[in-house]
Amino acid sequence: MSQRPQSLTAELERIEMQITLAMQEIDANFARAHRIVTNSIIPVVERYQTQSDAVWEGSKFWRQFFEASADITLDAYQETTDTTIAEETTMRADNTGVSSPGSYREDGDKSKGMRMPTNDDSELLEDQFEDDTIMASLQMQSTPKPRQSWKEEETEPPYQMFAQELTEKYDLPAPDTNQQQMLEDESFIGVPPPSTPRTLKPPGYQTSETPKSSMMQPSTARAPPTTTPGRLLHQTATKSWRIQATPGKAPMSKYRASAASMIPSVTTPARPKQPNFNVDDSPFSSPIQFPELQTQVLNTPGPAALNARTPARLMTRDWGFTGGPPGTAKAKTPAKKTFAGYDFGDSDDDDIFLPPGFSPPKTMQFSIPASKLIATPAREASRRIVKDILQTAGADDTMTTTDVGNQRSFVGEESSFLEDLRGEPKRKLKEEDPFDG
């Protein structure tokens, strides 16, 4: 009997010692973890941060380059995670194309509208109508029908789809017409492409597709239905950043728009009106031009005093671009020809987007007629040249200045001087010089 309490006490002592040892081990582990984090991980992360800064310094130029070339400004702003759950889901499905061809199951919270794909088809049959209505309300373009084509998209590289589009366009022997039809159906339904959105452009996309406009292509051409076009997503652990591409300043677009119209105006300065001119035919025409914003800039009530100084035709053209309010300056020039809302009335279209206060540029006339050139100081110049020549030949100084008859005889010299101005060799002047010995 006495052995048993002794054994119990020993057992209790042993357990206490084990607890103490375990706690010591826990303490040692926490201390070790703290030491590792402080001494090892944080310096490495600091170095990583430094290197990341260096990387950003290196790539800053390219961001500015692309922004300038696409004439946009990228702004990053933070959004709360709750409101972007559905968008992120759709965007991830757009990006990766990994959405399985199963049905959709409710995530338990219909208010968020987040649906995860499952493989339960019976639930799909039950809730298909409800799914469609909710999808329509959420403007999500994923319906159960095109899921088979999603699978096709998944298994097919985008460049093969490219090649199919090109073969269809250029009448090459198509590899599979069913797949092509399927792709067309996808483009009609609006299912976003997996990685390269340009693959599902409509057949006439080449008229508007430019590298400049598609610089931000995954954001614009992906066209998530619930987000503004031109956004990229950068998600961190706790928050999600969205990158919005806003159009750049007006002068940049002005110069690009003026560059489009500069070519015909420079080559044929006096060309009359062209009513059949097509905007899309211009090689510089790109869908990223934002004329509305430019006209908003020009039509702000702030610089009204400056607008008063601008020519009236400038204002009428700006209003004609957006179909501005009738009865304003446009009513003063009702005879202007318009084409699809755009005014092509004047031949010098390069000053369409001139900011207020700027006068339209003038084309210099470089070919001066000879009659005008004679009226210029060339007469005096030629007289001085002849005088110098005569002085070199030893003539009297007063000979040319006082003698009117001699001055009249210098007309031939004058004409030779004019020829010299036009590029004739100078020795011709010497040959025709009657005073040359």
Partner: protein, 95 residues
């Protein structure tokens, strides 16, 4: 009478709590640094995305040029004209 094990365990517990607090602070600092780094890496991410899209566009246009240089005629003459103009615009922009 206080058990010696209890006293030792209390000391160990306070030490553990102290170490956990310090570790928590370190993890907070680490998280903040990682967050800042991630935010800074968003810009190179955008640049990389731009380059990727540019690469895709160049690939596509080269493919179109290759097909056009092979003498393949488009089916529609109007499409051909538009494609040619778009291509010329692209080339002008490249230069």
């Amino acid at each position: 009478m206080e058990s010696p094990h209890e006293h030792q365990q209390n000391q160990l517990l306070s030490r553990i709590i102290n170490n956990v607090e310090k570790l928590n602070e370190s993890i907070k600092v680490l998280n903040k640094m990682l967050e800042e780094t991630s935010d800074k890496n968003a810009n190179p991410d955008i640049v990389a995305q731009m380059w990727k899209n540019y690469h895709s566009n160049v690939q596509f246009n080269l493919e179109v040029c290759r097909i056009r240089n092979n003498g393949v005629r488009p089916s529609n003459s109007r499409d051909q004209g538009k494609a040619g103009k778009a291509g010329s615009g692209m080339e002008a922009r490249r230069t």
